[in-house]
């Protein structure tokens, strides 16, 4: 049994890096708009399937990947403008249900466009897998881990060092005050959805060569990214990334050591545990009590 461990850890890290990207998307949108975007998982699906179609249309891998990410960014912006923005100011429940609707719509439309069969993407750099501590790491897995870390780093630089990044942070801190200094929360919200869609698309394209891509992959990816984000406290980007790796590891270990069928439930058991343990910070002001 224990001989499996290195392999499971490597697998967990690979999948975890994808969850981390999806979780980051959640955190970006949540911080800026206060919305939990339940459609977040559909962006990886759309990225991967669009990329597959563009490849089939004759584009090279890098070109197809970039074009697919760009297209998903546009879709993210459309979601914000057409579905989310019109409902701003209504009950939070309304917004939650809307993002569910968006998720279902994308899944159904993808089924109509791409059908139910899985698509595969070629590995970015084909070649023999690396062997690490008796575990096997495919080259694509290295890409997945590396790219997700690079994206995370780029994101931190963006938020820390650039003016638009600072604007988004300001908006997350205090929407009212940032409006006073001329930052438009509406534009920031649009930006957040665009960026999150892009993050999701990258995740989908990177993981597709390993897991394949199907119209219904978004549900699982989204929920696990979600769990990762919640583990990280939902507002904390680095913690969400750690949460992503954690979920990946838990899932891989559960698959390895338990009946595979239960691994889906394990993630949510962890989620419930985390929710049960949540206290300050997630509470409504109204229900905040003395510690």
């Amino acid at each position: 049994m224990l001989a499996l461990l290195p392999q499971l850890v490597l697998t967990g890290l690979t999948v975890g890096s994808i969850y981390a990207l999806v979780a980051l998307g959640f955190v970006v949108i949540y911080n800026v708009t206060g919305i939990l975007n339940f459609a977040q998982g559909e962006f990886p699906m759309l990225g991967a399937l669009l990329c597959a179609s563009l490849l089939a249309g004759g584009l090279s891998v890098p070109l197809a990947a970039v074009a697919a990410v760009a297209a998903v960014c546009v879709l993210g912006a459309l979601v914000e403008r057409l579905a989310v923005e019109p409902a701003y100011g209504s009950h939070p429940l309304t917004l939650i249900i809307i993002t569910f609707g968006v998720s279902m719509a994308f899944r159904g439309l993808a089924l109509m466009v791409w059908g139910a069969d899985p698509y595969t993407l070629p590995e970015f750099t084909p070649g023999a897998p690396l062997v690490l501590l008796s575990g096997v790491l495919t080259r694509q897995a290295v890409w997945a881990i590396g790219l997700s870390l690079a994206v995370v780093a780029a994101l931190f630089l963006f938020f820390a060092c650039t003016v638009p990044g600072a604007a988004v942070r300001a908006c997350a801190d205090n929407p009212f005050a940032s409006r006073l200094v001329g930052i438009s929360p509406r534009r920031t919200s649009l930006f957040a959805f665009t960026l999150s869609a892009g993050l999701g698309a990258v995740a989908g394209i990177v993981i597709a060569p390993i897991t394949g891509a199907t119209y219904d992959m978004g549900l699982g990816l989204g929920l696990k990214g979600f769990v990762a984000a919640v583990i990280g406290g939902l507002t904390n980007a680095p913690a969400a990334v750690v949460g992503g790796y954690l979920v990946g590891l838990i899932e891989a270990l559960a698959t390895g050591f338990l009946t595979p069928g239960y691994s889906g439930a394990i993630t949510f058991l962890v989620l419930l545990l985390v929710l049960f343990l949540q206290r300050e910070g997630l509470l409504h002001g109204a229900q905040r009590r003395r510690a």
Binding site: G285, A286, Q287, R288, R289, R290, A291
Partner: protein
């Protein structure tokens, strides 16, 4: 002051590095009308939030009828008879004006889930009492004609009156009003002062955050002045009017602007 209804001792509240209240102490006697004034951001609403359990104080204690309120939820505190209104009225927009006020009666009614589900005679009887009480409260604030309208259709000033009616329907012992006259016409404000006086005679104690100095001068027995979270003065309205610290806190170099123009900030 052992006869005090409410007694705050060294109340402090911090938000991160910002001190919203710093060692504020005061006492309110039964059937008193106390006004809390101070520039915007002085900590007035924070004081209300702390008294009503919405925020826990960082330090200090509050006693109500001699009992410590520490750790009680807002609902528990309301159940004790401390009712408040909000600076931005929190009306229940989807409910009618009358239904809003009926929620106010929650505190002194008992119908539970089961009694309601089975529409037991007790529930129906209580409902009748409640709708009568609600209408009375609406008459008091002059919203009787709007009883059947959705609350969200009321203009801001009337939403404020609705909130007051709702609070009155709760039959409070201590009523905390957060800027009750904002958005009201001079006539409506005068009427409200009259209502407050009458209710005081009936036994209700008031703490009122108020920017309109005319109202403060006319209605309050005592005034507490907050500035940067600290109590800088306390006294009768005429004393406060003459207090140089108060004048300085408000307008610095323009002392006589305080009582005349009031400080009706947006």
């Amino acid at each position: 002051m052992s006869g005090a209804l409410l007694e705050a001792q060294d109340l402090s509240r911090r938000f991160g590095g910002v001190v919203a209240l710093r060692r504020v102490s005061f006492a309110v006697a039964p059937q008193e009308i106390v006004a809390v004034i101070g520039p915007n951001g002085a900590g007035k609403t924070t004081l209300f939030n702390v008294v009503t359990g919405l925020l826990a104080p960082t330090a200090g204690r509050i006693r109500y009828r001699g009992a410590d309120l520490a750790g009680l939820s807002p609902a528990r505190i309301a159940a004790l008879g401390i009712i408040r209104t909000f600076q931005n009225p929190m009306v229940f927009g989807e409910m009618t004006v009358a239904e809003n006020v009926m929620v106010g009666c929650h505190r002194w009614t008992r119908t539970g889930l089961l009694a309601a589900a089975l529409a037991l005679p007790g529930a129906i009887h209580e409902d009748r009492l409640v709708s009568r009480a609600a209408l009375e409260a609406l008459v008091l604030v002059g919203l009787r004609d709007r009883a059947a309208d959705p609350a969200r259709d009321l203009p801001a000033g009337q939403q404020r009156l609705l909130e007051i009616a709702r609070a009155l329907a709760a039959r409070p012992t201590l009523l905390l009003l957060d800027e009750p006259t904002a958005g009201l016409s001079a006539g409506e404000a005068r009427h409200l002062v009259e209502v407050i006086r009458r209710l005081r005679a009936d036994g209700i104690t008031f703490i009122v955050i108020e920017h309109n100095m005319d109202v403060v001068m006319e209605a309050a027995d005592r005034v507490i002045v907050l500035d940067y979270g600290e109590k800088i003065a306390e006294g009768t309205p005429p004393e406060i009017q003459r207090d140089p610290r108060v004048i300085a806190a408000y307008l610095g170099e323009e002392p006589d602007a305080v009582p005349a123009a009031g400080v009706s900030l947006p």
